[in-house]
């Protein structure tokens, strides 16, 4: 009985926490550049890519649906890709006024400047930040924290090693969250929770943690990961990886403590509109715009 009351208290508290701000929905567009032509694709566990169209068309569609922000990720992360993404940023800025972030393969102050100059609101850095954490500091100093998003790809690791933050998973197993880089191909041995705390100190304006276990699976976000990071830092956190239903997105806020929820396939495939998800969140007591 006491435990039950405790649980009710906790979920009430989480709901209140989530209601403090407006829950934001962020469609994400994975962009693959082939022969200088950018096209939106959606990866399933980062392999098996399906081509799905022109990034600017998607941006227009999601603006109409009421998206709060957009994220464009260059998944080719090649030199050609970066040049093309500058052009994509310019065309998107021209076509919509939804704030948007561009990430993927950006590894220098000059690279960040080009994307921001083209009209992006924020730049996401991922692998480059792991390889050179000072890039986060100098980027935040140069462009302001508000414009620097650190994307963190993380994977559950049940082989517990000393010094890592350990969490209980849904099935009762214990795991820590390991940072992986190069699109999930390379484990780093770094504790994702500590890494998030560190990039916050270095001046990151927000964190975009993507679960490599959940990305493309459609079974919902890694809520323990999302919650652990939301608890660990005071900057905004965007849940990412695995969402396919409005229920998943609701959980990102109520159980994961996220400030924003990112989703791709469920919107790209036309299963749900952003507006429908917002209706669902509103019906469940969250504030949405």
């Amino acid at each position: 009985m006491e435990a039950l009351a405790g649980k009710a208290f906790i979920s009430g508290y989480l709901l209140l926490t989530a209601m403090r701000d407006y829950a934001m929905i962020v469609p994400c567009l994975d962009v693959k550049v082939v022969g200088g032509v950018p096209s939106v694709v959606k990866g399933v566990k980062f392999v098996d890519l399906k081509r799905q169209g022109d990034p600017v068309e998607f941006a227009r569609r999601y603006q109409e649906q009421g998206a709060d922000e957009l994220v464009f990720l260059d998944i080719t992360a090649s030199h050609e890709g970066r040049r093309t993404m500058v052009d994509v940023a310019r065309r998107v800025a021209d076509a919509v006024d939804v704030p948007f972030t561009v990430g993927g393969g950006i590894s220098s102050i000059q690279g960040i400047k080009e994307i921001l100059d083209a009209g992006a609101d924020r730049v996401g850095i991922n692998t480059a930040a792991v390889r050179d954490p000072d890039l986060v500091r100098s980027a935040a100093r140069t462009f302001g924290s508000e414009r620097i998003t650190v994307a963190v790809d993380a994977r559950r690791n049940t082989e517990i090693i000393p010094g890592v933050n350990v969490y209980e998973l849904e099935d009762g197993r214990r795991a820590w969250f390991e940072v992986v880089i190069y699109g999930g191909r390379e484990p780093t041995g770094m504790d994702a929770i500590e890494w998030c705390r560190r990039v916050e100190r270095l001046g990151a304006g927000e964190i975009l943690p993507t679960s490599m276990d959940r990305d493309g699976t459609n079974i919902g976000y890694d809520l323990p990961l999302t919650k652990a990071i939301s608890d660990a830092v005071d900057i905004p956190v965007t849940a990412s990886g695995g969402a396919s239903t409005p229920q998943h997105i609701l959980e990102a806020f109520t159980l994961g403590g996220a400030d924003k929820a990112l989703a791709a396939g469920m919107f790209h495939r036309g299963e749900y509109t952003v507006g429908q998800v917002k209706e669902y969140l509103r019906a469940n007591g969250l504030r949405v715009k």
Partner: protein, 199 residues
Amino acid sequence: MIAIVDYGMGNLFSIYNALLKVGGDPEIKRDPDFAGAAGIIIPGVGSFGRCMESLRRFQEALAERIAEGTPVLGICIGMQVMMDESEESPWARGFGWIPGRVVRLPEWVTVPQMGWNSLELKRDLELLDGISPGDMFYFVHSYHCIPYDKTAVVATTHYGVDMAAVVAEENIYGTQFHPEKSGPKGLRILENFVRMVRC
């Protein structure tokens, strides 16, 4: 013509486009020459200290135009630099056009504020024609303005505490949010500005 001050921190695209959309004739100014400018916009990019470093060379020309009555609109950091000083960069002096200081958002909220928030209107202002209480605007900031003269605060928003969202003193205006990123209501404010500078 409406001059957009380009102090080298990038990202003038959105504000330029938004002004075009509402019938304005924006021009990006890399040099402190505001000849022919009926209005001036100071966009908001970067940190307070960095902005002031880059904006210093525009100070004299801006002060002249303000004295002549040219409407000036500061957005986000562009509004914060109108105050005297900021906790973000204690060593840097602001323009001090609107006496006040800039302080960090309270520690019990997520900082930066990055998202939508509504306004509470304190008094009428032409710049806010067509804006109703509860209309939502897009904020991205870690610091907020506290003008010493409370009548300079035209609208507030609540994020942990009540804070200035729109300030105005004679022909000097500032918005803490980004009207160019705030959909139709944001465009309405820029449209008002375009109309005001034509009169």
